[in-house]
Amino acid sequence: MGANGIAVAKVDLKNIKPYGDTMNDGMMELTFTLPVPYGPEADEAAKILGRKMGLDEVSVVFSKDLGQGFTFFAMYGKCRHTVDFTAIKVAKADVEVMSREECQKYIENNIRRDVVVVGATTGTDAHTVGIDAIMNMKGFHGHYGLERYKGIEAINMGSQVSNEALVAKAIETGADAILVSQIVTQKDVHISNMTNLVEIIEAEGIRSRVVLCCGGPRISYELAQELGYDAGFGPHSYAEEVASFVLTEMVRRKLV
């Protein structure tokens, strides 16, 4: 019996299933598009696909003609599969996040000079949304960007910046940190673009004196390690996290 006198099935962490209305009902909601014309055949195709994905009691609860022979679906189904949650190990990095005020205090107490941060969206990517969210004065989701931080000189070079231009700017300004954003790229070109930047930074002999961070929806700590960056910031990252990492890393590496 649960706390409110209601019978509750206990979570079995060795066999977790999606939760819909009751524990272990396996209920999932999916939305997707198929390249077939709207109609009963399209709904049936969606259901067959759902069953192949391991869902039982599949139902298409919504479908809409997208035109040009495409149909959009919302589908429910019960997942047959389970996951052993207790056996999962993921690579993690621990960064203690300070607020903007705490970051400013930290600079005052531990660095005692302005910190120069150069950022850009590099290569062919034209999307500034990521770098702006971190650097712009107004920030994102109520989290002010680095331009608003006292003690940080934030230089946002915008999008489609070449790796050469970014490194040249970092050298010219004596940057303490370089931030690279990659949002939308094709065929994993962001990978070779980001390794190329690391290699140029190595070649210019400044790798040891800059904190190098990357960010974007497909970036993780694991990928950052693989690509040769000091940190990687995925989705839901704000300026505080980036600033906290850059500042503590500068102090740890005695770059102050």
Partner: protein, 340 residues
């Protein structure tokens, strides 16, 4: 072929670098680790990226694990320590840190699969390699990451194994061409003007951009050759013979120099890892008179080929091997899966 035994006679630190992701670096590493176990060679293992994970983080394809025998030394970050199946004794928590936490220097106490990652900066890697040798490793193998090749620099590695294969291109000819471009850069002629070399050495090898005239040398006020275009061009006079670039030689740097001046000078770079010009541009620029010399080149111990690509296509094994051998000009070429 007893590749490792040959390598261990000549080199202490060997890095495995790739022409592309999935060129087969980890497979080569595993081959060498197995040989080391047979030959009784004590190894140190580290990676400039991350190795031993079973799924590729970008393509999602399966990757080989890394199985290490007792007493091998290995680096792993604190964030991956729990993910190794081998028993790892921590020798030291190093001062190096990466995106996955502090780098731990470990000894394998109980053989098993290991996830390894090391410092991402080349200078820090040198420190770790040195320490593993000091602690008794006969040899250190550094696994590269993706297409990062900075670790190949002669001050970081005594020699490299260059891994290449179908992952680079769908055309055998293109794979051979791109690979031999990099191999060609690694074997560029070393700069022979001893007087000029002395001047570079006196200013610290990483030092300053230097313009060598027929008589004497000048140090123009340029902090980097990158995006220095006009300034660099102006710094080259009628009497200029060489320009020493302490940093990167990119297409952008070359483009900033006027055609007549390009014909007149040679660029001097510290080592081939400083050159960022692809094979097509290199050919074109060579026709326009580009000449490059290095203070020290990179020793290529072997080329390895992997005929399979993660996208699912593959080359004929023998055809790839023979095409690469024909082009390699004496560098040993092998496919470690069919050691021949």
């Amino acid at each position: 072929m007893k590749l490792l035994r040959e390598l261990s006679k000549k080199y202490r630190v060997v890095s495995v670098v790739g022409m592309a992701k999935n060129a087969g670096k980890t497979t080569v590493l595993n081959y060498l680790i197995e040989e080391a176990a047979d030959e009784g060679i004590a190894l140190g293992i580290t990676s400039t990226g991350r190795d031993g994970e079973r799924k590729d983080i970008v393509t999602g394809t399966d990757k080989p694990g890394i199985y290490l025998w007792e007493d091998t030394m290995v680096t792993t970050p604190s964030g991956l320590y729990d993910m190794s199946e081998a028993g790892l004794e921590i020798l030291r928590v190093t001062e190096y840190s990466g995106a996955l936490g502090e780098i731990l220097l470990c000894r394998v106490a109980e053989a098993g699969y290991v996830q390894t990652a090391g410092p991402v900066a080349t200078a820090d890697q040198r420190g770790i390699c040195r320490e593993m040798l000091d602690r008794g490793a006969d040899m250190v193998l550094v696994d590269g990451a993706v297409d990062r090749r900075a670790i190949a620099a002669p001050e970081a590695s005594d020699a490299v194994i260059l891994a290449t294969g179908a992952a680079l291109s769908r055309s055998v000819a293109k794979v051979v061409e791109e690979t031999m471009h990099v191999a060609g850069l690694y074997r560029l002629p070393e700069f022979s003007d001893q007087a000029a070399r002395r001047i570079i050495a006196e200013n610290g090898n990483s030092g300053r951009l230097t313009v060598f005239e027929k008589k004497g040398a000048r140090f123009p006020d340029v902090t980097t050759g990158l995006a220095a275009g006009g300034v660099l061009n102006e710094a080259i006079g009628n009497e200029t013979k060489y320009v020493y670039l302490p940093g990167a030689l990119t297409e952008g740097v070359v483009a900033g120099v006027s055609p007549s001046k390009l014909k007149q000078i040679a660029f001097i770079v510290k080592n081939p890892t400083k050159i960022f010009i692809d094979s097509a541009s290199w050919r074109l620029l060579r026709k326009k008179g580009l000449r490059v010399r290095v203070l020290k080149n990179v020793e290529i111990a072997a080329l390895t080929v992997n005929p399979r690509a993660p996208e699912g296509y593959s080359f004929d094994r023998a055809a790839l091997l023979s095409a690469m051998r024909e082009a390699a000009g004496g560098i040993p070429v092998l496919d470690v899966r069919y050691a021949g």
